[in-house]
């Protein structure tokens, strides 16, 4: 079988390596500090601080902390759990999206398909894609055997299922329901919801089954020996073709680390754009859409994100300049996502999806940039840094 060495190489890849654990730990501790500082400031009776701003800060930090803690738990439990976790986030975001956009009675059964067929299948395919490349345990290996999936990369299916098949299915199903009023508009709403909340976001966990390659030089053997004495590093032997392009399998790295890097960069990009916008934001990009997004914030944020992304290159398969480019692209896409969701919310006359229905945290508000950045980050990584493309 042609894929056997590939499987062996992938199996040797650690789920969480030292750099990843470092980054996870540092981020969680920093957020913990921010949380503690925020709580202490809240108890100060003095009116010396802006309490509205502080409350927003506290809420935001708490949301981040919870998010990263859940993500870390997902990483520790295993890849399947991480995919399921993202599946639930998609489900909830889609729920908010469809609640926000008015639909008609005739859309009911289509929506049922969207929620209970397309969303689960998309995440199932993303999950199986992972199982195929790296049979993690007896169950998933058995499952892949049963379906005879060992030779198929499900990328080919999950990357087109929603944009092609669901997009054809949705208008057809609405047509069958027999209500022609605002037909195109209704089809488009459902399609856009599915595309943003489910399809795009599912690219984030899909990173977990890429066969990552790197142009970085091999790590010094001393570090290798210290970590794995008994294992004479078999992955290194399966990279005979590496020398010609300088590209080799990234066996020492963790794909969870890369996913975490991506999410962190998206969040930091938002933070930097906000900070730059507050500091010297003057030219608002589209006051009708979002009054707080300025050119200064966007450019400054993207540049700073690129810089910080480069500084964190050691968790990724990217070299420093590559990491800078990836982080900048991520920041730009995150901005695009934020603007798009702002436009949708403005059109519907809601400020945050969180206030749409009282008492719900707006999941869609938190993941808008993530949704737009995920497909681009995934495809750039797949094209330049994986063995899937020659």
């Amino acid at each position: 079988m042609g894929c056997e060495p590939l499987l062996a190489a992938a199996a040797a890849q650690p789920r969480l390596n030292l750099p990843t654990l470092w980054l996870l730990g540092v981020v969680l501790v920093l957020l913990g500090f921010a949380l503690a500082i925020g709580q202490t400031l809240k108890r100060q009776p003095e009116a010396s601080i802006d309490h509205a701003l502080l409350q927003r800060f506290n809420l935001r930090v708490r949301a981040w902390w919870i998010m990263y803690a859940i993500l870390t738990a997902g990483f520790l439990l295993g890849r399947g759990w991480t995919v399921i976790l993202f599946g639930f986030v998609s489900f909830w975001a889609l729920r908010e999206f469809i609640t926000m956009t008015p639909t008609r009675r005739g859309d009911h059964r289509t929506l049922f398909w969207v929620f209970f067929v397309f969303t689960p299948i998309q995440y199932l395919l993303v999950g199986i894609g992972r199982m195929f490349v790296q049979p993690a345990g007896p169950v998933s290996g058995w499952f892949a055997d049963l379906l005879g999936l060992r030779g198929i990369d499900f990328y080919g299916l999950y990357s087109i299922m929603i944009p092609v098949y669901a997009s054809l299915f949705i208008p057809a199903r609405i047509a069958v329901s027999g209500d022609s009023k605002r037909f195109l508009e209704r089809s488009a709403k459902t399609q856009v919801g599915l595309l943003i909340c489910v399809y795009s976001l599912s690219y984030a966990p899909a990173l977990l089954h890429l066969d990552l390659q790197t142009y970085k030089p091999l790590p010094p053997p001393a570090a290798e020996d210290r970590e794995a004495d008994s294992l004479p590093s078999p992955p290194l032997t399966v990279a005979p073709s590496a020398s010609s392009t300088g590209r080799r399998p990234w066996n020492e790295g963790s794909r969870e680390g890369l996913l975490f890097y991506f999410i962190l960069i998206v969040q930091l990009a938002e933070l930097f754009q906000y900070a730059w916008g507050k500091l010297l934001g003057r030219r608002v990009i589209a006051p009708e859409i979002n009054a707080s997004r300025t050119w200064e914030g966007f450019l400054g944020g993207a540049a700073t994100t690129g810089l910080l992304g480069a500084l964190l290159w050691w968790v990724t398969p990217f070299r420093i300049w590559e990491a800078a480019c990836m982080a900048t692209a991520t920041a730009v896409m995150g901005f695009a996502g934020c603007m798009t969701l702002s436009a949708i919310k403005r059109d519907r006359g809601v400020r945050d999806t969180g206030t749409l229905v009282q008492g719900h945290a707006g999941v869609l508000d938190r993941i808008d940039s993530l949704c737009f950045a995920a497909p681009v980050f995934f495809h750039l990584t797949r094209f330049y840094f994986s063995s899937s493309v020659w």
């Binding site: 489900f91 729920r95 639909t103 009675r105 929620f115 229905v357 008492g359 719900h360």
Partner: protein, 201 residues
């Protein structure tokens, strides 16, 4: 409280993504009539499930006998929610729905009623039936609590059996009472307005 009811209310809460707001009104175990707009089969279940547990065990939804006694499953659900089934078709003189309701609540239970009668077909609320007026007249001590149920008709519209898990909300407003000398029509209009007002809060 029985297991079926607990499971049903959990499923209903998950499916309807329902958030509950109490506006100028607090959960109490005193006797109340919760009256709400009717948009979906899930209304009674979700409203009942969204009450706190201590209140829930003392609250009985009022439902139509002709619908809820059609088959064994519905009968079972109705009985596990401790629903009070009312005959809509053959109403006898001294067994009128209002008499039955008053008899059933005694001095302990609260009720959930939908004064529109049937579920509305349009987005707008229907006219209220007079039952609420007579309840308020015969038992002036009962708190009449308006409830507005939003978006639940999109979760499970009329004639559908598969729910779509959108987010809905329930707003519970300040109680009203029948004023002295207030006519039936005036009161029913005021009660309907009390429900509708909660939509914009």
């Amino acid at each position: 409280m029985n297991v079926t009811a607990a499971v049903l209310s959990l499923v209903a809460k998950l499916m309807s993504g329902c958030s509950v707001r109490w506006v100028d009104c607090q959960p109490e175990t005193c006797q109340r009539i919760y009256f709400a707009n009717h948009t979906s089969h899930l209304d009674a279940l979700v409203l009942w499930a969204s009450l706190p547990k201590q209140v829930r065990v003392l609250t009985r939804p009022v439902a139509a006998r002709d619908y809820w006694e059609q088959d064994a499953v519905r009968r079972y659900i109705a009985s596990s929610l401790n629903a009070l089934l009312i005959d809509r078709e053959n109403i006898k003189v001294h067994r009128s729905p209002v008499e039955l309701m008053l008899q059933a609540i005694g001095d302990k239970y609260s009720l959930i009623v939908f004064p529109e009668g049937g579920r509305g077909t349009t987005d707008d609320m229907g006219e209220f039936k007079s039952g609420l007026y007579y309840l308020g007249k015969k038992r002036p001590d009962l708190e009449l609590v308006p409830v507005f149920i939003d978006n639940l008709n999109r979760v499970l519209p009329r004639g559908e059996f598969l729910p779509v898990p959108l987010l809905s909300s329930i707003t519970i407003g300040p109680p009203i009472w029948l004023e002295t000398g207030e006519s039936k029509t005036d009161f029913l209009v005021r009660a309907r307005e009390a429900v509708r007002r909660l939509k914009d809060l």
